[in-house]
Amino acid sequence: MSELKVRGSLAGKHVLVTGVTGFLGKVLVAFLLEHELVARITVLARGKRFKDARARIAEALTRSPAFRSLRAAHASHPGGLGGWLEGRLDVVEGDAKEPHLGLSPAVRASLESRIDVVVNVAGLTDFSPDPVDGLAVNVHGALAAAELAQACRGRRLLHVSTCFVAGGVDGAVPEAVSLGDDGDARSPNGTRFDPEDELRAIESLCRGVSGKHADVSDARRARIDAGTLRARSLGWPNLYTYGKALAELLIVSRQRRERSALRVSMLRPSIVECARSFPFAGWNEGVNTAAPLVWLTGTMHRRMPFSAGHVFDVVPIDEVVKGTTLALAGLCREDAPALEVLQVATGDHNPFDYRRVLDLTALARRRQYARSHDAFERVVLQHLDSVIWDVAAEDDPVLPALKSGVRTARDLLVGFDVEHWLPRGPRARRGSSASSPGETSIADRIQSMAGRAAKQLGQASRTIGQVAEMLRAYQPFVFDHDPRFETKRMRALSASIGAGERAAFAVDTGSIDWRDYWMNVEIPGLDRWSLPLLRGERVPDDEPISLGRALDVFAAGEEQSEGDVAYAGDAE
């Protein structure tokens, strides 16, 4: 492989990035801006909750911790961060769920004449989304991004997918799309199918199921169940991986069928977790894959239904962003192949198995609880290390039995009537003027305690149910299958960077010291940025700064214009 000059390849390029309000999108844009790698970034975003796209992007730039270092670096710019961003970043209103990304023909035509690469990061990452939404964003959105890229002057698409498109498989997963020369795809369980037919079939299924339910939420639930069943029948564990796989297959099959000049790079990260160093150590956003598992190890639940030797394929977000940058640089080379699939994973060269994950998580929690001011954490939880239980979550008899026991206790307490247990005398006097205040007060107190206990048991029963459901959702990844995502191409691409650029851009997943990363970066990062969300708490953004100057809005037909909206990212 010839030497990859990252800066050289990306110099002067105008890229359009979707999904910038998401975890990966933010860090990618921050990285590209911080290193000043491309000439201009146009971010496609949609308005939400009474805010237009520009306001949302401005809010992210001024408040999100992902842009902390960017804000610090350009705080002294005469025009503030907004001034520095002038000519470097603009915003276009669009929506990955809408046909043609929600772009008007005029804006689209203007983008086509200027954009070199479309970077499609947008995606719904729920394991079980409503298939209507999942297909709209993860499949149609990706196809619309590919169509736009094909019409743009650069004819290049970088599509961010996931390693888990491989579905329920064991062993080596190559950096390739499983599409035969005849256009037929192979599903994870070996079924041959036409991706176009499959898309029509799942959409028809959704329509059919929706028609049978008058209630909107019933229809949604039925679509999820039917869609999940269909995904599983082909070997994908959930709708998310199924949708992402379908998108990959459709992009490539259309590219081949139309013999288009589009060059595609598929970037597949495995499980994206807290940053090692960029934007800063521990940064995470939202509830990602590891957060529920880490939360669970800090509770009373001890037995984890994991396969000890299976790999938990985790990659820090900054390594994924470096991989995306390399894929982008590779795609911008003159000799870029028509299709390149690159995986950013660790399992094939620096594996981190579940036994170790659990051990390190328990050790980190032990340390934390040993210093806790909460006596329960210090005395009880500190000593409850989680252990591997080599049984599938769906075969776990304990959680259902526990849930049933707790519910029975709750039902007994709900039906508890203190009067029934009072001796005859006080019972007869209760409520009458003859009862003493002491008798009434004790009986009422017992009744009220029973009510409170019933409420707590009801909550505990719901939590146990959620834990059981969560473990079942994770079962394909933590117990059933052990895929090893190959990263030969990604590592070769990384190794081809010139010595001068290696420190900044090389993907360095081989050097991750898992103990240090997990205990000192990941778990503190999750504690700070993700676990509060699981508890229903808010994670505060940074103190907002003034953007100084309004962000540019991408305007059709003009070279560039500052929009007439006065929003400048000031504190609300």
């Binding site: 170790r356 051990d359 390190l360 050790l363 252990v387 103990r515």
Partner: protein, 241 residues
Amino acid sequence: MEREPRGAAFFRLEGAITPFPAWHGARWLSTRAASVRRRALGGLISLVSAARTSHPALGSGLDGTRSLWRGLEQFSRDRLEVLGADFAETVLLPSVDDEAKRLLDLARDAGRTPVLIAETIAAVAVPLASALGIEHVVSNRLELEDGVATGELAEPALGPELDPRRLRDIAEGLGVSLAVSAAYGASSADRLLLGAVGLPCGLHPDAELARVCRDLGWPIVGSARSGVRQAFLDGFSEASR
């Protein structure tokens, strides 16, 4: 011109640097195994082994030390090193008294290389030595297979007594002369260590070592163990008698 030979300062961890015997660390660690069954088993093994090392009738020396660490079988490398560092930081380090620190400083000022001699395992001794600024550590190591402890000590194992031949090898490895080296011991088992160097010293010695020190004219720093300290260190031994 011939260079003056360099010396080392050998500090015994158990008793001299900290008041805790090796079995205390073994018990602390083994009762923090992941599974409750291993905790109970490990705790029992460490207590029985402590009795063995404390009472001559039950056997002592290297065999006792070897059995002490069997309770850590199935500990992962991560668990050993993380908990070992925690034990060193939260239990051992706060117990290092000012006399020991002063002697360490004196050794450095005199140009002697400080060496920590420990019956405990490296997972505990190394972080403690690092916190005290001691570069060289002679301690036990647990054998690991695929990152999991077998419960056996890697050879050469180090018991309560340091074999003089091994001490000579260590000195040779460090390029120091025993004749100009100092050693600080606390128990009667340290007699061999102290006897092998030019500058022996009892540091918080037990009653027997204190008597030996007085007989041989070796200096004693810190009081000969008495009261609570003596009770703690010899309590198990007393109880078993």
